[in-house]
């Protein structure tokens, strides 16, 4: 049951967006966050939203996927909406009851914050939806490379992420196996309250950890045998290379930010 697990939320495809350099996508994602924060008037969200929708369409990612990525955040969204609704007290009073006081300014602010949050999450989701975890790791390593001059362990971090990605499915499979083995010996994972259930996980976690350490030991030996000696003097088979499409992607973002700034200033 764990075999077909997909990591992250990558939506396989071969669109221009998928083929963009991961560095481009990482930088554009950060720029998009900036663009969203630059917006001060609600209607200017139109452009940032259109940008996200446009990217989604070009990438061929179903909109439902984007909406799904918002699901885990629904409580935060509702919470933020209510807080802003109650705390802001500008404009006309719409409802006044007991200590609750809802104003037009409050409604406006609540909607504004909610849209902003939705756009932020969609923007970052779009990147993880269209980039495989491994190329994301590659992109991060390359982006952080200049920092290694200041002893920042860019290569080591990327290596750790790669190994983690490689072993998550293996360990999940093993967790499944151990769970079954313990169930066969009469372990009960389903009844009881939260605390009891958490306690019942101990017989699964202990062997899992022991095995993870054993695996780590063997992997280290295998890596040493394959002449791994850190990032120094290491080359790569696939070298990231900027192409024309990356330039267009950057230009589109410049356009979005420029448009937002100009319209903001004019109005």
């Amino acid at each position: 049951m764990f075999k077909d697990i997909t990591l992250g939320q990558y939506f396989p495809g071969d669109s221009v967006i998928h083929r963009l350099d991961p560095r481009t996508k990482l930088i554009l994602m950060m720029a998009y966050i900036v663009a969203v924060f630059l917006v001060k008037d609600m209607w200017l969200f139109l452009f940032t939203a259109l940008y996200a929708v446009g990217v989604t369409l070009i990438a061929g990612v179903p909109l439902s996927y984007l909406i799904r990525s918002l699901k885990p955040l629904k409580f935060i969204l509702i919470f933020m909406f209510i807080i802003n609704l109650l705390v802001t007290s500008t404009g006309e009073v719409l409802v006044e009851w007991w200590i609750i006081r809802i104003t037009t300014g409050g409604v406006k602010q609540a909607v504004f914050i909610t849209i902003r949050l939705i756009l932020l999450v969609s923007g970052t989701s779009l990147m993880t939806l269209t980039t495989t975890p491994i190329s994301l790791t590659d992109g991060l390593e390359r982006l952080m490379m200049p920092l290694s001059r200041f002893r920042f362990p860019a290569h080591e971090l990327a290596m750790m992420m790669t190994i983690a990605l490689r072993f998550i499915p293996t360990l999940l499979e093993e967790a499944d196996k151990i769970t079954k083995a313990q169930t066969a010996r009469g372990a009960d994972f389903e009844s009881g309250g939260i605390i009891e259930r958490a306690k019942s996980m101990v017989p699964v976690l202990v062997p899992l950890f022991v095995s993870a350490f054993r695996r780590a030991d063997e992997l280290a030996m295998a890596m040493e045998s394959r002449c791994y000696h850190g990032g120094e003097g290491r080359t790569r088979m696939t070298v990231l290379k900027y192409r024309r499409r990356d330039l267009w992607a950057y230009l589109s973002m410049v356009l979005l930010i420029g448009l937002t700034l100009i319209l903001q200033a004019v109005l």
Partner: protein, 270 residues
């Protein structure tokens, strides 16, 4: 090629895994090291590429002493090793990236890595899985990828540390075929650590270990015609050699050193 000179390996206070083992591994040969669990055969294997260093004695790879840290990288370039658990030796999430891992560590230019990876995948018959994820492959397939990862580094010696022990019969067969081809076609020296006597039959030379000592070396024909002696050490003969001895005991005229099914069949039909 590789020379072990009175190698003794101790661990902890009392533990002794190898007792004064001397062995010469010749260029181009296929050597099988057999023995029970705890006979020291895996410890011996890990001495061949400086994963372990001898407590006493010395190991030299083409004249380079494994004890000198400056030699370590060069020794590992020459001596590739495939381990037992196929899951714990693949590093990345894509097959071809994993095969590229070794050459990348050696600092080889990108275009050449690409070429080596393609050739290595072809050599192990895994070209169509180049973009697969390792955890979706069978044990035998994973082990073939691990071998490809070694071939891409172009070592002169390939050490297989019980690489077939965790595989099903089919996976084992696949791996053995590739190993034998690598030895015959590429002339690569192969050291095969195994507890299956059947696998030792395909080697040029067999070394038998027990309790950290090397108790027998010779061609498979020599070693497996000494059934009594092997049995006295608690080791068994390959199935064909057992059948041969039974037939001889039953009064048939069969050469004492027949160890393949073909030889046996020829002798019976004669």
């Amino acid at each position: 090629m590789i020379r072990l000179d009175n190698v003794t390996y101790r661990y902890g206070e009392e533990g002794i895994a190898l007792k004064s083992v001397s062995l010469n591994i010749e260029k181009g040969e296929m050597l099988a090291i057999v023995g029970h669990n705890g006979s020291g055969k895996s410890t011996l294997a890990k001495h061949l590429n400086a994963l372990l260093l001898p407590t006493e004695g010395s190991v030299t790879v083409e004249g380079m002493d494994t004890k000198d840290p400056d030699n370590t990288l060069n020794i590992r370039k020459k001596v590739g090793m495939v381990f037992q658990n196929p899951d714990n030796q693949l590093v990345t999430t894509i097959v071809e990236e994993d095969v590229a891992f070794g050459p990348e560590n050696l600092g080889i230019p990108s275009a050449e890595i690409r070429e080596r990876v393609n050739k290595a995948l072809e050599a192990v018959g895994m070209t169509e899985y180049a973009n697969a994820a390792p955890h979706m492959l069978s044990g035998g397939q994973k082990q073939r990828i691990a071998i490809a990862g070694m071939l891409a580094m172009k070592p002169e010696v390939l050490v297989l540390d019980e690489s077939t022990a965790m595989l099903d019969p089919q996976g084992r067969q696949e791996v053995l075929e590739i190993v034998s081809r690598v030895n015959k076609e590429y002339g690569m020296t192969v050291v095969m650590i195994t507890q299956y006597m059947e696998e030792a039959v395909m080697a040029d030379r067999v070394a038998v270990m027990k309790g950290g000592e090397l108790i027998m070396t010779g061609t498979p024909k020599e070693v497996f015609s000494r059934g009594e002696e092997l049995r006295s050490h608690g080791l068994d003969l390959p199935a064909i050699a057992r059948l041969r001895d039974e037939l001889i005991a039953g009064g048939m005229d069969i050469p004492k050193d027949a160890i393949t099914a073909q030889e046996l069949a020829d002798a019976i039909c004669r």
